[in-house]
Structures are given as structure tokens and as C-alpha cells.
Amino acid sequence: MKKIFFLIMFLSFSVMGREEGQTEITTEEGIEVFQKEKYYLLKKNVLIESDEFILSADLVKAFFEKDLYDIQKIESEGNVNFTSSKGYNGVGEKLDFSMKNNLMNIFGNNALLNMENLIMKSDNYIMIDDSKGKFKLEGDISELTTDTMNIIGSSIEGSYQEINEINEINNLIVKSDKVTEITTDTLKMFSSKAVYSKKDNIIELFDNVKVIRNNETIIGDYAQINTLNESYKVSSKESNKVKVLIENTNE
């Protein structure tokens, strides 16, 4: 009896579920196919499920190359939620995804891309080119969180590499009209511009530099921080003098 029950359950799920290699799309208000323009419009509560990703949105425009199944690019709008088979999760008001080159653009006030050990947030725009390992965040407040650092700026641009299923930052350029902020376990760094190189194990800070460690604050125009031992040197352009503030907390 139990065997028959499980067989019926299995057959039911086999009939209902999506098969491997299939892309299943459901919409509440239909699909408009524009054969000449080679795209179709998926309307209201759209859900796309494939081997590579799951996407839900209010409205989706899917561009195809030859036939409908041959989707090349997706433009989605309204409460977009994207999860890839790699475990990447993107959330935004608008999300464009190109299957051809694994390029994703996320737009919106609360744009988010979670790549497990890399978390990107912006109040405007996030771009990730997974085939080239490049990313860009733009907005008044953009934030990148890695396992070892938290970076805040208005523009964060860089490259990453997947090593043993972990995405590691190779290079980083952080800019801000106001001030960029980089935080590690022991340091807090502020500047107008910051550049990180994993190869050289160095963070360079340019203009309006402020480095804080424990009770020590150093102000200057330029700083170089060794990320291995977190030692740093700060210099000043004009006077070659830097300001050191030491706060004594021992009474």
C-alpha cells in the first residue's frame, strides 16, 4: 500500500514539475510575442524557472535570437528577485540579465546582490559581469561587504575571482564626492578615493585621509596600508607633515 502511495506521489510530481533542461514561465496576464522585434513581454506576477536561475518580477521583457526558446537577454521590472544556480541572489526595482555573457545590471533604491561572501548594496545601480569577473556599484551610498572588509562609497568598481567556490576581490577603486569608508577588523579608513590591490596586498588612500586604529587617529593626504600586517604610513602633500591624534583612555 505504501509503495503504491509513493509511486502515485512520484508520478504526480513528475507530471507537475519542471523537467531538467526546461525553462518554465508562468504569468497572470499573459504573454505578448513580437516576432519582428524578437522579444516577448511577460505580464504580471511573472515567474521564470530554469536550470540556471529563478526570477520573479511584475513585468519581464525577454529577447530571443531565433526562436522563443532561445532567450538571450531579460529585462525585468517591479519587485525583481533573481537567484542563480551559483547561489547569487539579486533584488531590485529593475534587473537586466544577459545570458550570453552573464552580465547583470540591477537598478533601484534598495538594489542588492548577494554572492554569498560578497554582498553589494546600492541606492542606485549594481553591475556584475560574471564572465569577466568585474563589478560596479554607483549611487549616493554604495556598499560592498567581503569576509574581511566593509567598503562604502558613491562609486565602487573592481574585479573578483572565484577560488575554491569563494569569490575573492582582486582590485578595487572606491570614490566618493564626500568620503569613502573602509573598515577592517582593526582599522577604519576614510578618504576621497581608495585603491586596493590583492596582488600587492596594499590599500592606497588619496585626499582627506584619516586612519583610525584603536585610540590612534592619523590625518594626511595619502596613506598606504599593508593588508597582511595592517601596518600603514601616512603622508601629506604640501607640508610633508601629518597630524596624529592619540586619545588616552587609561586613567
Binding site: 514561465i25 508562468t26 504569468t27 499573459g30 504573454i31 510575442v33 511577460l42
Partner: protein, 149 residues
């Protein structure tokens, strides 16, 4: 033992069995699926203006064959295609139980369940509308699209 009564009992059983058999055969023949369909088809056929309509229209790049079991004139240019309506071209097949077709504008729409089949594509919807010489197909209502590469 009364022999006369024994004979009667057997006879009654045989007669009852034969009558039952006749009744079953009669109802099976009368209510059988083939007979029922034939009768229905005849009734439906009389209600159509055109029986088994079959014609082609020019799509953007290809001819589209349209066929149905019956068609009725709605207005000068519009006909209602009914029962097993099929739009077929070299690249797709579209099936619906009821389709309104405008001969002048070469447009078609349906509010009934629709199945669209194309290479690697199956679409199930609650209706459709074909406009712009087949360039635009609008699948309406709750729609499910299955794509296979």
C-alpha cells in the same frame, strides 16, 4: 417434488437472461460513443454556415493554414471558427476550440483555452489575439510557457 415447478424456474431464468441481454445490447448500441458523436455532428453541422472551413492567409514570412470543424458568419468581415480550430504554419501550430477571425484585417482572437506549439516552445493560455499579419501574438490570461533547448 413438483417437476412442473422445476421446469418453470429454469425457463423463467433463461427468459430473464435473454431479455436482459437484449436490453443491454439495445442500450449499448443506442447510447454508444460512435452513434452519439454521429448524431451530434449532424446536429452541429446544421448549425454551421460553413462546414469544415479550410483556408490560408499570408503571414509575415509564411502562409498560415486555418481550419476548423465549422464556421459561422458574425458580420460582413468576421467569422466565428468553431470546434478544433487550428492555425498551422511551417513554424507553429495554434489550437483553440473557438476563434473569431476578421477576413479584412486578417486578425484573430479567442477567449477560450489556447495551445501554441513551436520548436522548443509550448504555450498554454486562456485566449489569444493575432495582429499585424501574425507579427504580434498576444496570449491572454493566466499563461504557462515551457521552453526546451
Amino acid at each position: 417434488m413438483n417437476n412442473l415447478l422445476l421446469i418453470n424456474r429454469k425457463l423463467i431464468l433463461i427468459i430473464f437472461f435473454i431479455i436482459s441481454l437484449f436490453i443491454i445490447i439495445f442500450y449499448t448500441v443506442k447510447e454508444g460513443p460512435f452513434n452519439k458523436n454521429l448524431m451530434n455532428i449532424k446536429k452541429e453541422d446544421y448549425s454551421f454556415d460553413i462546414k469544415n472551413p479550410k483556408f490560408t492567409i499570408n503571414g509575415r514570412d509564411e502562409e498560415i493554414l486555418i481550419k476548423a470543424r465549422g464556421a459561422s458568419f458574425i458580420s460582413t468581415h468576421e467569422i466565428l471558427l468553431e470546434k478544433n480550430v487550428i492555425f498551422k504554419s511551417n513554424t507553429f501550430t495554434l489550437k483553440s476550440p473557438e476563434v473569431y477571425f476578421n477576413q479584412k484585417s486578417q486578425t484573430a482572437y479567442s477567449k477560450k483555452n489556447t495551445i501554441f506549439l513551436s520548436k522548443g516552445t509550448t504555450i498554454n493560455s486562456k485566449g489569444f489575439e493575432i495582429t499585424n499579419n501574425g507579427d504580434n501574438i498576444n496570449f491572454k490570461g493566466k499563461t504557462k510557457l515551457v521552453l526546451i533547448k
